[in-house]
Symmetry: C2
Subunit: 410 residues, 2 copies
């Protein structure tokens, strides 16, 4: 079955919005045994919309159209489609009732132009929208099923999950079996991984890299008629990858590194504090993005000046004077000073030069020292990330969590 | 002139990568007086690529094709295009030399399959790639100019700026004048702004909202044959918008709120420290994303426990006991305690309930108290953001900066 996505909206073509809807739809379809064969975007103009609809009808069996269902005069997708299909627009009373009810719930008067959203092509099926005013609709035209959805991601996604995807399954049940495994990695570049995995046998298996900087996800997937065979191939490739990459793989599925660390600390009933300099609070922010982090995360300090390193972390002034703020000795003193005061099981510290200024021949921009203080002592590591300020901060924050992770697993 | 973008790559259609290239191209063209009339994406398959190329040739005068120029067997864009155009692929020695030179510079041997990247359609013009191995090429086919570029954003952008955009200008000089103004806003929702600006006269002017959550950018733009008229209309709409939105508009152009605050503090020679609870380090991280922030940002503390609020900020235990950690009194004590110890001109503090758990009928999830301590005293504000944990953190961090901004301008 050929499935296509058509995005409508001037804001997409003029670059005002990056279209993430179609990547989300493509990802869902791919991991459920279907494939998108083409995606197009056109502006809010009758002529290109009409052409795109006719082209889609001629080459696809399923067309998911997003955008242009709002109440304003710019929103002309339904009107244009009705004309293209030769189906008059009529008022759907049940759709109008739902729009009215939504405004009542929000305690706001319904504007007259919202009524327009309930006028859909005659003979279509309403797709309810639980998260917004614009109802969607499903129209069978010639041999093609068109699904019209709003462009707001939250609304579009819910309507896909509740109506469009089940309908696609009904129209063409997947006969092929599908198996997928996602391995989460940190600490190796994509090209180094590529070299390490060069000899992998990819017969009947797909191996894709997906980067959530600075993490890299490896997606191993396979399809076929025999579920046992499909699973066997995925497991074989997984075993090969695990053998080659070792503890670069820290987890599976959806669990990011800060969540992994949080889960393990919670299980062990242990606690953490962090002393940041060059990461400027990013590490604490990543840790506290995890719901429930207050159970194990006690405090963070961002010591951007020498005074604050002395005041808050009791770093001796001689250490700062003799070795400088960016040094192994300062990192160690920060971690040990924090752990002692905060009374946590672990304390992480990092001090470095994020740039773009502040480097020297001895300590160029990108230099960082990370220390971990634990009940068994303090370790320190020097790393070098000559990257943009923003990337440097992310690399250092994740590297710190990775040093703690390796301590926790060994 | 009709301009189209065609993206080639399985990783796009399967949702493994969100295509940001075409939004970038669309934005550039839009703000230089051109328009994209359609964008499509197809996978790495000869049939859909051929169809897309023929379709593009029939409907557009300029086609920018990105992706599929790599050295692997999956990369078939050039091979497929050569066949579609009926032009044999030939070796371009100057392109090969550049690829070889690049590998030499990286001190790595050139793989045999990289030679393939120098085989381009006969009669095409090489588009040099300064940031990668894959050269691009420019081909005039029938009445359409095709530009083939790699999908790697850094490479694609440089080649657009150096070759494709100048060539487009050469092919069709813009006769219309263009004027644009970007106003940056914080503190009002998009729909509230929409209502506030409902009566604006948009004759010959375009007004677009662009959301960089939680900031909202208003882009006012106009085109026409008379530069004076075009500028006049943009200025008229700007005046209307400024009158309606007042100090919701904090700046112009590219300067985000943390940069605005940093610039003004630097100009005044003043300093800042922050005491965070529910934002968990995000505010410090946003502040330290700005290069040069060490000039005015002295320290941050993330006090996630009552003990750390007492230890680091000298919040009296009676305040915590009588009013709770999430209260006006605690926020004020945090800001005053920090300002006293850190010795900075200003100290910001915030304490709230990010959720998803921890709320109560009195203090539901989304409640936050923000305090600003300054030489002229301490002010406190209670706000309520019933949003996801991540959005809550961003809203509170930006609201804190905005409270400081309003103090600085009044």
């Amino acid at each position: 079955m050929k499935i296509e996505v058509l995005t409508v909206g001037d804001e997409i073509l003029s670059g005002n919005i990056v279209d993430t809807n179609f990547a989300w739809i493509g990802d869902y379809l791919w991991s459920h045994g279907y494939e998108l064969h083409v995606h197009s975007s056109v502006g809010d103009d009758p002529e290109p919309i009409t052409k795109a609809i006719n082209l889609a009808a001629s080459r696809s069996q399923v067309v998911i159209v997003t955008g242009g269902l709002g109440p304003t005069i710019d929103d002309i997708t339904i009107e244009t489609a009705s004309k293209a299909f030769g189906m008059p627009q009529v008022l759907f009373p049940e759709a109008l009732e739902k729009i009215k009810a939504r405004f009542e719930k929000l305690n706001r008067p319904m504007a007259a132009n919202n009524e327009k959203q309930a006028r859909l092509p005659e003979g279509s099926t309403v797709i309810p929208n639980d998260n917004g005013t614009a109802p969607g609709c499903h129209i069978a035209f010639q041999n093609t099923h068109f699904f019209f959805l709003p462009g707001v991601p939250r609304e579009m996604k819910k309507m896909c999950e509740d109506y469009v995807f089940p309908k696609i399954k009904e129209l063409s049940p997947v006969k092929t079996e599908f198996c997928q495994k996602v391995l989460r990695c940190f600490g190796m570049t994509e090209s180094a991984m590529d070299r390490e995995l060069a000899s992998v046998d990819l017969t009947d298996v797909d191996l894709a890299f997906r980067i959530f900087f600075p993490e890299i996800l490896l997606k191993i997937s396979a399809r076929g008629s025999d579920l046992n065979k499909v699973q066997k191939r995925v497991h074989e490739v997984e075993a090969f990858v695990r053998d080659r990459l070792g503890d670069v793989i820290y987890g599976e599925g959806e669990e990011m590194l800060p969540q992994w660390v949080g889960r393990v600390l919670t299980e062990r009933g242990e606690s953490l504090s962090v002393a940041e300099s060059c990461t400027g609070g990013l590490l604490a922010s990543l840790i506290t993005d995890v719901p429930g982090s207050s159970k194990y995360f006690k405090e963070g300090v961002v010591t951007y000046s020498n005074e604050s390193k002395q005041d808050l972390l009791a770093v001796p002034s001689e250490v700062l004077k003799n070795h400088g703020a960016v040094s192994a000795e300062t990192a160690i003193a920060m971690a040990e000073g924090l752990r002692k005061r905060a009374g946590t099981t672990y304390a992480l510290s990092m001090t470095g030069i994020a740039g773009p200024d502040g480097g020297s021949p001895d300590k160029p921009v990108g230099t960082v020292h990370i220390a971990l203080s634990s009940p068994s002592g303090t370790q320190e590591r020097k790393l070098f990330f000559p990257a943009s300020r923003e990337w440097f901060k992310r690399l250092v924050a994740f590297s710190s969590l990775d040093i703690l992770r390796k301590h926790l697993i060994h």
